[in-house]
């Protein structure tokens, strides 16, 4: 394969497209999943762009801070958004040549996402309430079990490609299409789906629509947020969902992603990404419809299952290479 390195201007444009796309795509995917659920339950459901409307509404509201909160409370949403945006910017979503794509290592992406989780958990503890602490504790526990599985599952793919750089992993997959159906990939896919469900707080791990205090995880952690800051936190969470869905789509079915430096390719890449993530979202919502929320202490079994699958994926990858 001849490596075509597009110009810096193209990469910058592609990165901006990616950020804007994920800012819109994340909330829309959540709206889409809610719609699928509503239809399955025989309801009409809210329009797909409802999450975006909610964000706009929140942005115009008053800013409220809890009495004992420190500077962490207003600062955390910015950190969440910054870390997620940088992860989105450098990841190969619509093109394999985003700005700083050479630094888009799996460890960078995983730890940027972890930075977001850490900021959210600290914000949960900041106001000094029971719910914030409860949410932070549960979210960190789930994160501590899910992050390793995420890392190891992607490492299973990187052994095949001989690099942990995401754009290179995707372009080598494009040149070796038979890799996609290999046993190692399939095991890693199942592990990644489990992990992504946990990381994005979907059923059966967390119920995003619950507001019953004792069952909340993510919602309990961000309970003290209101107005524009709540909008930022929610946007960060939905961007994280958009990013993880896109990564699943691109790692296991990379076709459609722009590899050259043409604008047309970029547009095709955007269209392909929207279609692929919609498919992933549809799949995840099917899982959601068919499952009830697991008890908190049953979750480790699910996540450990995911972890074991990802380790198996690595071993299978090593044996079959």
């Amino acid at each position: 394969m001849i490596a075509i390195v597009p110009s810096a201007a193209y990469s910058t444009l592609a990165t901006l497209v990616q950020i804007v796309l994920v800012v819109l795509l994340g909330p829309l995917l959540i709206g889409f999943m809610a719609k699928v659920r509503a239809r399955a339950e025989g309801r009409v459901g809210a329009p797909i762009n409802q999450p975006l409307r909610d964000l706009r509404k929140l942005l115009s509201k008053e800013r409220l801070h809890a009495r004992h909160a420190s500077v962490v409370l207003p600062f955390a949403p910015m950190v969440i958004l910054a870390a997620t945006s940088v992860a989105v910017a450098i990841s190969p979503l619509v093109t394999t040549h985003p700005l700083l794509g050479s630094s888009a290592d799996i460890l960078v992406i995983v730890y940027l996402l972890l930075t977001g989780s850490v900021a959210a958990a600290l914000a949960g503890l900041d106001a000094g309430t029971a719910f914030g602490g409860m949410g932070a504790s549960r979210a960190m526990t789930i994160g501590a079990l899910a992050e390793p599985a995420l890392l190891v599952a992607v490492i299973a793919l990187s052994i095949q490609s001989g690099t942990s750089n995401l754009p290179s992993m995707i372009s080598t997959t494009l040149t070796h299409p038979n890799w996609v159906s290999g046993p190692s990939r399939l095991l890693a896919l199942v592990a990644l789906v489990i992990v992504v469900i946990a990381e994005t707080g979907r059923l059966p791990v967390d119920n995003p629509s619950t507001h019953l205090e004792l069952t909340m995880i993510h919602e309990a952690m961000i309970l003290e947020y209101a107005g524009p800051e709540l909008a930022l936190v929610t946007l960060g969470a939905s961007m994280r969902l958009g990013l993880l869905f896109s990564l699943i789509a691109n790692l296991f079915f990379p076709w459609g992603i722009a590899t050259s430096g043409s604008i047309l390719g970029l547009l095709l890449g955007v269209a392909a990404l929207v279609a692929k993530t919609a498919l992933v979202a549809f799949g995840v919502s099917l899982i959601e419809i068919r499952s009830a929320k697991l008890r908190l202490f049953r979750l480790p079994e699910l996540l450990a299952g995911g972890f074991v699958l990802s380790v198996l994926a690595v071993i299978t990858g090593l044996v079959t290479r």
Binding site: L125, D126, T129, N165, L318
Partner: protein
């Protein structure tokens, strides 16, 4: 070398000043001299790292019979750089921190001796010099545990555990090193290096494993770690910082020196053992760190965790070197050494931060803290930054070094022999698992300790600490940022140390420049650009957020389920924060909890009081060491029966023993 000797001389002078000067002058004078000594040693070691030479010094005047042999090479120099930096900060910290017992002659001079020996161990280049410095290091640090609170039971027990473990370790090291001289002749490292290949492989392996046991125990490798979570928390905080960031690193230094340098790499199984120690330690340490509620105990367990990762790197490097992959081996070794340096910075800062907390609140129990960010904002910011670094938040030092380690392990998969493959796999899994657990531990440490509301009067009335303590902490945060944002600047130096440790002359596996670019594999990160990106987005979001805000935020009560009162007791504590994980890993942690219910006299259905106790003690200590200690005590007790103090009986014993010897000899 002259500069380094001058630095060591300064430390000796500092110790002398501490024991001679009156109380009012003592601390500033000796701390100043000690800091000067550290600065000189730092410059000397840096020069060796930059130029790559080896300088030696030897005298028979200071030690009887064999004399003192010192020699500084890039490997030792790297450890001196890390140690002297922390030592410098610890000296400055002492100016504000030293009060009461720590101001005494004994304490201050012992501290200076401790720093001196920490600087001397990596340059000691004969068995006698090494063991002399090693034992002095152990002895001075053991006594330092007792200076601050010698009447507390915990401190005395910690000192005893530490003393016994370190002596057993030292004996093991001494025996191992002596084995190497039996056939080779000389006791200097140069002699051993020259003759070690002539030894039979069984002798070399036996010697290495003996030395490994001793050094691994110093590095806090599980299951030889039991002393560490006792000794590090009980020592005064500057001493804890030195112990945790420098002294444990000496264990790593010893393993690399003996296995890689003196014995030229050995066999794969040596390094499998090292990496196995590492993997077990990393997981065990990380798990215990998440459940500890004593902040210094938490930090001590996290030291076990990080040193475990370092040992994984060293093990991987050794094994890959032996299987003929010097390039990847060097990468793994560089990762391990970078992690040692990074750890020295952030763990030093965290321990100094814990010391500041203890000084201003009077407790180190996280369940009693809270809200300190309002009382001591500067310390809180520095603590948060160091915690982020240890959690491997991108573009801080923990992240750069863990990335390098992952690359070493990942490309170690190119070797196809089963032991190495399993080792790399276990290494990757351990790295992944500890990442998540470390995040829990440090979110807990910062979130419970500094955020929320104060959980005790001590925390509510905390007074900010002296400026020198803040400056010292700030100094130790610098490496986190520098190694994080521009790691490439330091890597040529690390590479020089790694090549000394592995005895190769391979070119650096990482390109020159500010970022991390692998030369043989596709792997790059540009931390400076990532950092710029993060800052840029942060500024944009901040600006947007500012524009959106018409007015400053209104303060309201937190949501309390409709109740009126929200007391600090309703918050999550460190114990409750870690409870889910404690339950998940109950099989490893073996938590002990008791519920005691007292009923009202009239009816069984009403409770008068309820007491809940939850304790996570070290399961290995409880189930591994305790039985042995109890058995030894039992044997000792039964042996007392034959000793009744009567001189006739002892004479009879002597007579019988003499007869037996004669019979055996005949």
């Amino acid at each position: 070398m002259a500069l380094l000797l001058l630095g060591l001389g300064c430390c000796v002078l500092a110790a002398a000043a501490a024991s001679a000067l009156p109380r009012s002058w003592r601390v500033p004078a000796s701390a100043g001299l000690g800091a000067t000594g550290c600065a000189l040693a730092f410059v000397a070691a840096m020069r060796v790292l930059v130029t790559g030479g080896v300088e030696s010094f030897s005298t028979t005047r200071l030690l009887p019979m064999f004399g003192l042999t010192l020699s500084i090479d890039p490997l030792g120099a790297l450890f001196i750089v890390a140690t002297s930096f922390v030592g410098f900060a610890a000296c400055i910290y002492c100016i504000g921190y030293a009060r009461g017992e720590l101001q005494s002659r004994t304490a201050m001079s012992l501290l200076m001796v401790f720093i001196l020996t920490l600087l001397a161990v990596p340059v000691a280049s004969s068995i006698v010099s090494l063991m002399f410095c090693w034992e002095l290091m152990a002895l001075s640090s053991m006594l330092l545990i007792l200076t601050d609170q010698r009447h507390s039971r915990a401190a005395r027990s910690a000192a005893l555990w530490y003393g016994v473990m370190t002596q057993l370790g030292a004996a093991s090291i001494l025996f191992g090193l002596l084995l190497l001289t039996v056939h080779g002749g000389g006791q200097t490292f140069a002699d051993i290096r020259l003759h070690s290949m002539a030894l039979s492989s069984a002798v070399r392996s036996f010697a290495f494993f003996l030395a490994l046991l001793g050094f691994a125990s110093k590095a806090g490798a599980v299951p030889l770690h039991v002393w560490l979570p006792k000794a590090h928390p009980e020592a005064p905080s500057p001493v804890s910082a030195l112990m945790s960031s420098s002294m444990v690193a000496m264990g790593v230094y010893g393993i690399i020196r003996v296995g890689g340098d003196l014995l030229h790499g050995g066999t794969v199984w040596w390094w499998v053992a090292v990496a196995a120690f590492g993997a077990v330690s990393a997981l065990y340490g990380a798990l215990h760190a998440t459940t500890s509620t004593d902040i210094k105990r938490l930090l001590a367990y996290s030291t076990i965790d990080i040193l475990g990762l370092v040992l994984i790197g060293v093990g991987a490097a050794g094994a890959l070197y032996d299987t003929g992959h010097p390039g990847v081996a060097q990468l793994a070794m560089m990762a391990a050494l970078l992690l040692v340096v990074a750890h020295a910075g952030f763990k030093g800062a965290l321990f100094l931060g814990a010391g500041s907390i203890e000084r201003s609140t009077g407790t180190r129990d996280l369940d009693q803290l809270g809200g300190l960010i309002h009382r001591m904002p500067f310390t809180a910011a520095l603590f948060a930054l160091s915690a982020c670094s240890i959690m491997a938040v991108p573009t801080l030092s923990g992240f750069s070094s863990e990335w390098l380690l992952l690359q070493g392990l990942l490309h170690g998969f190119t070797d196809r022999s089963t032991p190495t493959l399993i080792m790399m796999l276990v290494g990757v899994v351990a790295l992944a698992l500890t990442g998540g657990l470390t995040a829990v531990a440090f979110v807990k440490a910062f979130g419970i300790g500094f955020l929320g509301q104060a959980r005790s009067p001590g925390a509510a009335n905390a007074v900010d600490v002296a400026p020198s303590m803040k400056i010292a902490m700030a100094l130790l945060v610098i490496p986190s940022i520098v190694i994080g944002v521009v790691p490439g600047l330091l890597l040529p130096l690390i590479n020089r140390a790694a090549t000394t440790g592995l005895a190769t002359a391979a070119p650096s596996p990482v390109e020159r420049g500010t970022s991390l670019v692998l030369t043989q594999f596709r792997g790059t990160i540009e931390p400076a650009a990532l950092f710029a990106g993060l800052v840029l987005v942060l500024l944009i979001v901040w600006a947007v957020n500012q524009r959106l805000a018409q007015r400053s935020a209104r303060r309201v009560d937190a949501w309390s389920c409709g109740r009126d009162v929200q007391t600090p007791r309703m918050q999550y504590t460190a114990t409750s924060f870690a409870e889910p994980l404690q339950r998940v890993f109950a099989d490893v942690l073996r938590p002990q909890s008791d519920v005691e219910v007292t009923h009202v006299a009239e009816s069984q259905y009403y409770e008068q009081s309820l007491m809940y106790q939850n304790r996570v003690s070290d399961a290995l200590e409880l189930h591994g060491y305790r039985p042995v200690i109890d058995a030894a005590l039992r044997i000792g007790k039964s042996a007392r029966r034959i000793q009744n103090g009567s001189i006739h009986r002892y004479l009879a014993f002597g007579f019988v023993a003499l007869l037996l010897i004669l019979v055996v000899l005949a």
